[in-house]
């Protein structure tokens, strides 16, 4: 268990079984609801951008910040699973063919990314941490999470082209990988952190609602 339930109604009954069951049910409902939010955010595309920009990445980070590392990663894992078995939940569909997309690594990075962001969520819980720490924590977690995402994105493309290269594409050099998978996208992802930054001040209140 990452976090002990602080809901006194459950502790007071003395029945730890009851508290455990409530925590279990809360996880069972919070995780899929956030998976759905992820599905929705993949479809909210920003009009007029040259390449599709969606709210996916900010949503990944907020999943982590609001649900904590384990539940956050679970929500993203479920998202991935649903997409891979063929539900059209990714930004341009779904299905096993996605593993051949050069950008699939980013999707693989989502659960890890949410986990990383979730590691910082503890900062939001302690009332002692000042606004500065909160903001710094959120900024740090966002940047770290983006880096993790790119590590997976680029790494996947690199490994894929080397391991299964003969299958669908030739081996790519590290430079090519960065050219293809990092440079065209990173600017928009950094830009998309703006909504996260704007919500930062409300994050603690929102997180309190998660319990």
């Amino acid at each position: 268990m990452i976090r002990e339930s602080t809901d006194p109604t459950t502790i007071k009954t003395g029945a730890s079984a009851s508290a455990k069951r409530k925590e279990f049910l809360r996880t069972m409902t919070l995780v899929p609801v956030f998976t759905v939010l992820m599905i929705i955010s993949a479809r909210i595309a920003i009009a007029g951008a040259p390449i599709p920009i969606t709210l996916q990445l900010p949503m990944v980070i907020m999943t982590g910040l609001l649900l904590g590392p384990w539940k956050g990663a679970a929500a993203q894992g479920l998202y991935l699973l649903m997409g891979l078995i063929g539900l059209p939940v990714f930004s341009s569909g779904g299905g096993i063919s996605y593993i051949f997309q050069p950008t699939f690594g980013f999707l693989l990075g989502f659960p890890v990314c949410a986990f990383c962001a979730g590691m910082f969520s503890g900062l939001l819980d302690s009332a002692k941490s000042s606004a500065l720490i909160t903001y710094a924590g959120i900024a740090l977690s966002s940047v770290a999470s983006i880096l993790v995402c790119y590590l997976f994105g680029g790494g996947y493309l690199f490994l894929f082209s080397h391991l299964f290269g003969a299958g669908v594409m030739e081996k790519l050099s590290l430079r090519e990988v960065i050219m293809i998978s990092v440079l065209p996208f990173i600017w928009k992802d950094l830009l998309m952190m703006l909504p996260v930054a704007l919500i930062a001040g409300r994050m603690r209140k929102l997180r309190a609602l998660a319990r």
Binding site: P8, T13, A17
Partner: protein
């Protein structure tokens, strides 16, 4: 979780469904404030009974329901359900599997991805064998009247159907007790009645005990016994007439009485006689009591006094100025799918309250989404007019839409979800600043808005998420009012509020009208719409079938029957009395006006008092009705 449902426990032979003694329960809210939810409740509910729990928001009704279903356990006191102590772990699953619960929001309690999967969810959890689940699912769907929909997605059902589905899900678990936690709050009147008829059938045919929590006082009459809760305590109990006869206390508690009971009580007050409990036993009893109060009067004495009803001051001069015009509007969500709106035309005049009436699914929300360009017309036009300058804006033009959104404030149903800022102040200012108001004007507008909705300045720096439901509604209201729009479109503004909340909302609307705002009100509550509106537009299955003033509409029985409209309770009541009171004006909607109208039709106050009540007239209680609300 190790507890086994089949664990043999001794089931006591008792005819008590629930017995509680001095139950106390408290919990801590998310913002760390402790709440004393129950402060000593004692009650007994017999098996097969139908009881209603009423009380304001936060009075502890829902907490009590949760305790009965062992979703929580009391801190102090004892609570036995079906004769079993809820504190004891081994009784836990037995009680819970024999008490079914239907909650307020249909969307948040359906688990299955198809109708039959959802009904099966409970039995599956109980570990019932597959063929038996199949049988129970089919039986339950048949019983609630949803057969043939087994494979449908729950999201494609209407609100009323979803709540029936929730009942079916409970029914498949073979419950002995059914708890309705404000289950009717989000339904329109027709679905509400269907739903409650179904519940009544369950009680009669299957002997299920019904515990029904509600804000709607007229629903209390379905029960044999009423508990009134206030601040975690039962403050009144008894038959509906026992409770409603003490209407003064009810009003003090922020509650209400059903319309027909209100009419009788008001009539007694105006005549200066003391009401008797028998008058309030049922709706029929109320009708009879009115007849008997006026019993000795003959028809010849009527029409002595002319009706002097119209009390609402109308802004005649402005009424000629059309500010909003909808012409031949048609819309369908997808090609080839049935039309949501069909050839709708109407115009709204400055300063009036214009109501759009219709059941869920009649296209009301689609219609109002057109008014400020959220949906652009597929066919037809929506135009905003400035009668002074002669300017016309049209939602088809992108450049006009922004201006239209500034001049037309739109508040959807359950608007509290739209709050998002850190503080109430920022949230209310969001709209005005977005609409280009300068800081100073916006601040002034903010102060006017919060004064109107009755919030004081101390709220401004709090987070909107910390507020209660009713307070959030006020903030959402203020957020739109502060934009200082000329026209306000309000979609079911009082939905889900308790009686005091509802009254407040209609008070704001009156005040806004007095400030010269034009108001477009969407509602399925006929009583309230009739009381406040200047004109009504009746919408049915996407068509505008009638436009009239309330008086025109409700004075002719034939007309209303033709439309198939639901009537305001007050009008229904008067209609039934009409044969006994020749010359009765049917178009009165306030309890006080109805009582006054009855007296007038019977020959006037003095005539009634002289003739019938010579002995017991008490001058201090008898005044003419029809005063300001």
């Amino acid at each position: 979780m190790s507890q086994d449902i089949d664990n043999p426990i001794k089931i006591p032979d008792t005819n008590e469904a629930v017995r509680g003694a001095d139950i106390r329960f408290s919990y801590t809210r998310q913002d760390a404030t402790p709440v004393q939810a129950l402060t000593g409740v004692s009650l007994m509910i017999p098996k097969g009974g139908y009881v209603v729990l009423i009380g304001r928001n936060g009075s502890g009704k829902s907490t009590l329901a949760k305790l009965i279903n062992v979703l929580e356990v009391p801190d102090e006191g004892t609570l036995a359900v079906l004769g079993l102590d809820t504190m004891s772990e081994e009784n836990f699953w037995y009680i819970r599997s024999h008490c079914g619960m239907v909650f307020q929001n249909p969307d948040n309690q359906i688990v299955g991805t198809s109708v039959e999967e959802d009904v099966a969810f409970g039995p599956e959890n109980l570990g019932i064998p597959t063929p038996e689940i199949r049988r129970r699912v089919d039986d339950a769907l048949e019983y609630v009247g949803l057969p043939g929909l087994a494979d449908r997605m729950p999201s494609s059902l209407s609100g009323g159907q979803k709540q029936k589905l929730a009942i079916a899900g409970v029914l498949a678990m073979m419950p002995q007790v059914l708890i309705l936690d404000e289950s009717t709050a989000m339904l329109d009147p027709i679905s509400r009645n269907e739903f409650l008829d179904l519940v009544e059938r369950l009680r009669l045919e299957k002997g299920i005990t019904v515990i029904h929590i509600t804000h709607d006082m007229s629903e209390a009459y379905r029960a044999g016994h009423v508990f009134v809760l206030e601040k975690g305590r039962i403050v009144m109990e008894g038959s509906p007439s026992d409770v409603f006869i003490r209407h003064e206390q009810m009003t003090k508690l922020g509650l209400d009485v059903p319309v027909f009971a209100g009419v009788v009580l008001e009539l007694c007050r105006q005549l200066g006689i003391s009401p008797r409990k028998e008058y309030l036993e049922s709706r029929d009893a109320a009708l009879d009591s009115v007849r008997s109060i006026f019993g000795s009067l003959t028809a010849g004495q009527t029409s002595l006094v002319k009706s002097e009803k119209p009390a609402e001051p109308k802004i005649e001069a402005d009424l000629r100025d059309i500010v909003l015009q909808v012409k031949n509007l048609s819309y369908s969500y997808e090609e080839r799918s049935p039309m949501t709106l069909m050839d709708i035309s109407f115009s709204v005049k400055r300063g009036e309250v214009y109501s759009v009436i219709g059941h869920s699914g009649s296209g009301k929300t689609t219609l109002i989404s057109h008014l400020n360009g959220l949906i652009r017309p597929q066919k037809g036009e929506v135009e905003l007019l400035d009668p002074k300058s002669g300017t016309v804006w049209n939602t088809r033009k992108n450049a006009d839409v922004k201006e239209m959104r500034r001049r037309i404030g739109l508040l959807f149903q359950y608007p509290e979800y739209q709050l998002f800022e850190e503080t109430v102040r920022k949230d209310i200012l969001f709209g005005p600043l977005k609409m280009g108001m300068d800081k100073e004007a916006a601040e002034k507008s903010l102060m006017d808005a919060i004064r109107l909705v009755g919030l004081d300045e101390s709220y401004l720096d709090r987070s909107p998420f910390e507020l209660s439901g009713g307070q959030k509604r006020r903030v959402a209201f203020a957020g739109v009012i502060a934009m200082d729009p000329e026209i306000l479109v309000l979609d079911e503004p009082a939905a889900g509020l308790d009686p005091v909340g509802r009254r407040d909302v209609f008070r704001y609307i009156r005040e806004l009208k007095n400030l010269g705002k034009t108001i477009i009100l969407v509602s399925h509550n006929m009583d309230e719409a009739a009381r406040i509106s200047d004109r009504l537009l009746v919408l049915s299955e996407g068509r505008a079938i009638c436009e009239a003033s309330p008086d025109e509409l409700f004075s002719s029985r034939e007309k209303v029957m033709d439309i198939g409209l639901d009537l305001p309770e007050s009008v229904k009541f008067l209609w039934e009395l009409a044969p006994d009171f020749p010359g009765l004006d049917l178009s009165v909607y306030d309890v006080e006006q109805v009582a006054a109208e009855l007296i007038r039709a019977a020959g006037g106050l003095s005539a009634v008092q002289d003739k019938h009540l010579a002995g017991e007239t008490d001058a201090k209680g008898s005044r003419r009705g029809g005063r300001d609300d």
